[in-house]
């Protein structure tokens, strides 16, 4: 047996690049997703009609044409929708708010649902939805921020972080610094757009609602429906065996789920609803627009003396989401005088929600670009500047930083990437008609811990079974849990079955916030040790046989992990994951076309359970960084508040031809101060800081400093000279 609550990484199965178990099912199409599921009889299909104004009220709505169309069973509008509790704005967790639909005439944003058509087939429902005619009383809306709009300073940002922090005397520290950077950075909204759209199949058995849905965290659905529909959690049975990506967009309840739930109740038959790709742009929350002012002051040697990070972002006042963007500077670099602040403005747009690396992605894009500007002002190497300002204690709280490996990531990466070949002067390196440059940025992400329970059993059919309600959102949950159980119990990987993503299974924190692996493996580790103890047997290949000899009906045991709020003295340590990004790209001297040549990420996330699935998440995150810097933005029309480029032809994500070979390196060092088995998360870390490395490489290549993202030819070409 190998226990994982030690720094030992010489493990038998954990730490190996094992293929994901569900891979063959997914690539052959035999993995069935929520919308493809059947059960409880033939499902009717729901399709939403949506508002074509940005703010106002429905004046009239005519569904008669649709009601007369073939196959249409019911059209739900505010006139006949069942009562649902109002959206609980005061609930600080955006993930568990009630999200009622079709509850009144009010239109809060463009694309707001106005009717749900339920029909025999998808095509019939879609056709009838298009036949719904509404007239509106349109009110002037605020869709884009302008100077002078009301702003307020919230006490808390998302995930319970303080809205503002102060240490020392920032203003004086900054004013008296030998070198200063004071710049403002703007980022446009992002939409998560997982490959599998948001979809739910619902049916009722008496007072019990059965849902098959595409979601990250099943318990959040139960909490939301408890408020919205008054359903006790035990009366909401949820299954989500396969989820085709989430990226934060499947943490909260959306219109597909509410539509299927109330629709199925009204027609007394199963109903399934899938958002269209275009609807996913307005019926799922997005990463808000941001404007960030970053002020950095340094002494003549480059030591930071003042760090100020002010974040202005939009947050819908009815359904607030205050992205925790300002937190990234709190534990990143040392420095005596510090200030972070969030300020919020309301816009009449879809609400904000977590989109991969909420806070860190936009925050580090701004701050790590500013660090590059400071390095230039100091005429200092950007890696050396970051290393100089590294710290072993949290600069705000004074708590020790666990597993702090920032310098190690930067130095290892610089060596591997060949950073020393970088020329400090922009435009100094040419390859034909291309300017070539390199950029670097640091990565940091807060480590969270959520209450989790896991069960492991020896079953009468001579198998080991792991049971947890965690989802596998494409990350590899099925695979890593089988690895951990096999490792700790001393059995073969193939002897372990993993049952996930059902509310009848032991509850955990789900997949989100990069905590699924760390929470669940820690609880599973404890469950495995408890099973061995109950069996009175050592770990080893004979475990199943010997256990069943004494317990023919099988034997199970549970393990658990408390939430960070219930861990005594949790705040006495400061826990994070770290990384360093290196990018080399080329810019055509005439046309401004950008070709990314090389990307390297060096990451430290504690024990690496499976370098294959971990690499996949990290490199995906790095490409998100490319996208945020160079490609991706939701364009809001300021006249009506609609997203102009709301489909995947015009909402530009990187294509394969944009992405070179991506080099991912992981420092495999269990962080036992952060987690009982030394595991931290990798789901978001790759997307933390990478976009700044692209922006910095762009500057080093062509001398154009991007402060408005994504970089577009319209802004780059005029500056090329």
């Amino acid at each position: 047996m190998t226990r994982l609550d030690s720094p030992n990484t010489a493990t038998r199965i954990v730490g190996r690049p094992i293929d994901r178990r569900d891979g063959p099912q997914k690539v052959t199409g035999s993995a069935t997703y929520a919308y493809e599921k059947t059960g409880a009889g033939k499902a009717l299909v729901g399709f939403f009609a949506t508002a074509t104004i940005g703010r106002g009220e429905i004046e009239t709505i005519d569904t008669s044409a649709g009601e007369a169309m073939p196959g249409v069973r019911l059209i739900v509008t505010y006139r006949n929708a069942p009562q649902q509790a109002a959206l609980d704005t005061g609930n600080r967790a955006f993930t568990t708010r009630a999200r009622p639909i079709l509850m009144g005439r009010r239109i809060h944003h463009f694309g707001h649902p106005i009717a749900l058509v339920i029909a025999e087939t998808y095509e019939q429902a879609r056709d009838a939805a298009r036949s719904v005619v509404a007239t509106y009383t349109t009110e002037p809306g605020t869709f884009v921020y302008a100077e002078g709009h009301p702003v307020h300073q919230p006490e808390l940002a998302n995930a319970g972080f303080a809205g503002s922090t102060n240490l020392g005397d920032f203003e004086t520290g900054f004013a008296t610094a030998a070198f200063r950077v004071d710049q403002t950075y703007e980022t446009l909204p992002h939409c998560a757009q997982p490959l599998e759209p948001h979809a739910t199949l619902a049916h009722w058995e008496g007072e019990t609602l059965h849902l098959t849905t595409s979601h990250q965290t099943l318990r959040y659905i139960q909490a939301s429906l408890r408020t919205a529909l008054g359903l006790a959690p035990e009366n909401v049975v949820i299954s989500a065996p396969f989820v085709g990506g989430g990226f934060g967009s499947k943490l909260a309840v959306h219109a597909d789920l509410m539509g299927a739930a109330i629709g199925a109740r009204m027609v007394g038959q199963p109903v399934k609803v899938c958002l269209t790709r275009q609807q996913m742009f307005s019926l799922v929350g997005m990463r808000p627009w941001h404007r960030q002012r970053v002020r950095l002051g340094a002494d003549a040697d480059g030591r930071l003396t003042a760090i100020g990070h002010e974040v202005l972002l939009y947050s819908n006042e009815r359904d607030p989401f205050i992205e925790q963007t300002g937190i990234v500077t709190r534990s990143l670099y040392t420095g005596p005088n510090r200030m972070t602040r969030h300020r919020v403005t309301h816009l009449d747009l879809p609400n904000g929600e977590a989109v991969r690396a909420p806070g860190e992605l936009p925050g580090l894009l701004a701050v790590e670009t500013a660090m590059d500007e400071l390095a230039e002002a100091l005429d200092m190497d950007p890696v050396a500047l970051r290393v100089l300002n590294d710290t072993t204690t949290d600069p705000e709280s004074g708590a020790p930083l666990t597993g702090r490996t920032l310098t190690q990531c930067l130095r290892t990466g610089a060596e591997r990437f060949g950073w020393s070949a970088r020329l400090r002067q922009p435009r100094a390196r040419r390859d034909g008609n291309w300017f070539v440059g390199m950029g670097v940025a640091s990565a940091i992400r807060t480590h969270f811990q959520g209450a989790t329970e896991v069960e492991v059993a020896v079953t009468p059919d001579r198998r080991i079974q792991v049971r947890s309600d965690i989802t596998d959102i494409g990350t590899g949950s099925y695979t890593i849990l089988a690895q951990v159980a096999a490792e700790v119990l001393g059995v073969d990987f193939s002897e372990v079955d993993v049952m996930l993503a059902h509310t009848r299974l032991p509850a955990g924190g789900g997949s989100g916030g990069s905590w699924g692996a760390s929470n669940t493996t820690a609880a599973l580790h404890q469950a495995c040790l408890a099973l061995l103890e109950r069996a009175g047997l050592p770990a080893g290949p004979g475990l199943v046989r010997q256990t069943l000899a004494a317990h023919p009906a099988g034997l199970s045991a549970r393990g658990s992990l408390p939430s960070m709020g219930n861990v005594p003295n949790w705040r006495e340590k400061s826990r994070h994951t770290y990384g360093a990004h290196f990018v080399e790209l080329a810019v055509h001297r005439l046309t401004g076309e950008i070709k990314v040549r090389r990307m390297l990420g060096v990451f430290s996330a504690g024990r690496i359970l499976n370098p294959k699935t971990a690499r996949s998440q990290l490199l995906g995150g790095m490409i998100w960084g490319l996208s945020a810097a160079l490609r991706e933005a939701a364009e809001i029309d300021p006249r009506r508040g609609n997203i102009v480029n709301g489909d995947l032809a015009e909402y530009l994500l990187p294509v394969h031809a944009d992405v070179p070979d991506v080099d991912v390196m992981m420092l495999d060092e269990p962080d036992l101060e952060a987690n009982p088995v030394g595991v931290k998360g990798v789901g978001e870390l790759g997307a933390c800081g990478s976009s700044a490395a692209f922006a910095n490489a762009l500057y080093n290549a062509c001398g154009v400093r991007a402060r408005s993202f994504p970089v577009h030819l319209s802004s780059l070409v005029p500056e090329l000279g």
Binding site: V644, H712, S714, P718
Partner: protein
């Protein structure tokens, strides 16, 4: 999608007869654009005439040194055709710069010419678009216009034509052959796509009931063929600016035999007077040619950069021509 009738034609003549017999009939070939537009109810034909079974899917010499490209030749096959690759390289290069492999496998020569604009305001049903709904106005002009037209626009419309293939064909002086109720006729590609004027919904010179049967390419011109497409990502994006160029080379100096721009107007943009047949450096030639070709540009605040980018793209294309010739 609105209900529609569907018929398969077995010959071009039968297809024309079917078109004539049915009001609001449309031809469907690859369907890569039309089906999307039907799902969005931007196109609502009452009848579809499927021409995939009518033949017209070969590339043949025309007897006068040129080639006759059947209307149903798939984009992939056209791009890969040996004579096209060797003697009309600008066309192969333009084709492979467009869409994706999957779409090119389906899309046809005629369908590529007939595809409709990707202006986002044409797609957004809640927004005013004179092309989608004549007389409703143009929300694009004051909207997100960064990738829209700067030349040949009107108060009614600033959409671009999205085809890459058509830009190369314009440089090659292709001729579109059509069959209609009154028989066959030829339309020079220069006259095939229409500028918007007051009727942006009229996009081509095709008359009701007419079917494209072929595109004819004149005898090869020789020279160095370049298609340079500048866009916001490396694949699967429409041109911000594209340049179809046939150049002649003399040492380090270049001359323009043919030049057409894409991404700037509702049709491939060629100004014959801009084709500088005197040799010069790429920079000089690009400046002179762009000044003539782009004269009269009327950009919006958000797409004025395209004027400079077009000149730069031409400059880059001329350098590409030199390098290609080394």
């Amino acid at each position: 999608m609105r209900p529609f009738a569907y018929q398969r034609a077995s010959s071009a003549r039968e297809a024309v007869a079917m078109l004539a017999a049915r009001p609001r009939a449309r031809i469907i070939a690859g369907g890569t654009n039309l089906l999307d537009l039907m799902k969005l109810q931007i196109e609502t034909p009452a009848h579809l005439v499927d021409v995939n079974g009518i033949g017209l899917d070969t590339i043949e010499p025309d007897g006068a040194g040129g080639l006759r490209l059947g209307a149903l030749v798939r984009n992939t096959d056209l791009a890969a055709h040996d004579t096209i690759r060797r003697q009309y390289g600008v066309l192969t290069r333009a084709l492979v710069a467009g869409a994706s492999g999957q779409l090119r496998n389906r899309a046809t020569t005629a369908g590529n010419l007939m595809q409709r604009t990707r202006c986002p305001y044409f797609y957004g049903s809640a927004m005013a678009c004179n092309k989608r709904e004549p007389g409703s106005g143009c929300d694009a002009r004051e909207g997100a216009s960064a990738n829209l037209a700067i030349l040949g626009t009107s108060a009614a419309c600033i959409a671009t034509h999205p085809s890459d293939m058509a830009v190369a064909m314009r440089a090659l002086d292709a001729v579109v052959r059509v069959l209609g109720p009154a028989g066959e006729r030829s339309i020079p590609i220069a006259d095939f796509h229409r500028l918007p004027g007051a009727t942006p919904e009229v996009e081509t010179a095709l008359q009701p009931g007419e079917l494209i049967t072929a595109v004819e390419l004149p005898a090869p011109l020789g020279g160095t063929h370049v298609y340079r497409k500048v866009r916001e990502r490396a694949s699967y994006a429409f041109a911000t600016v594209s340049v179809a160029l046939i150049a002649r080379i003399d040492g380090d100096r270049v001359a323009i035999e043919r030049l057409a721009f894409g991404g700037l107007a509702a049709k491939p943009w060629r100004v014959e007077a801009a084709e500088r047949r005197d040799f010069g450096t790429p920079e000089e030639i690009a400046r002179d040619a762009a000044t003539v070709a782009l004269a009269g540009a009327r950009p919006t605040d958000r797409n004025a950069y395209k004027i400079e980018l077009a000149q730069r793209a031409l400059h880059a294309a001329l350098i590409d021509a030199l390098e290609q010739n080394r």
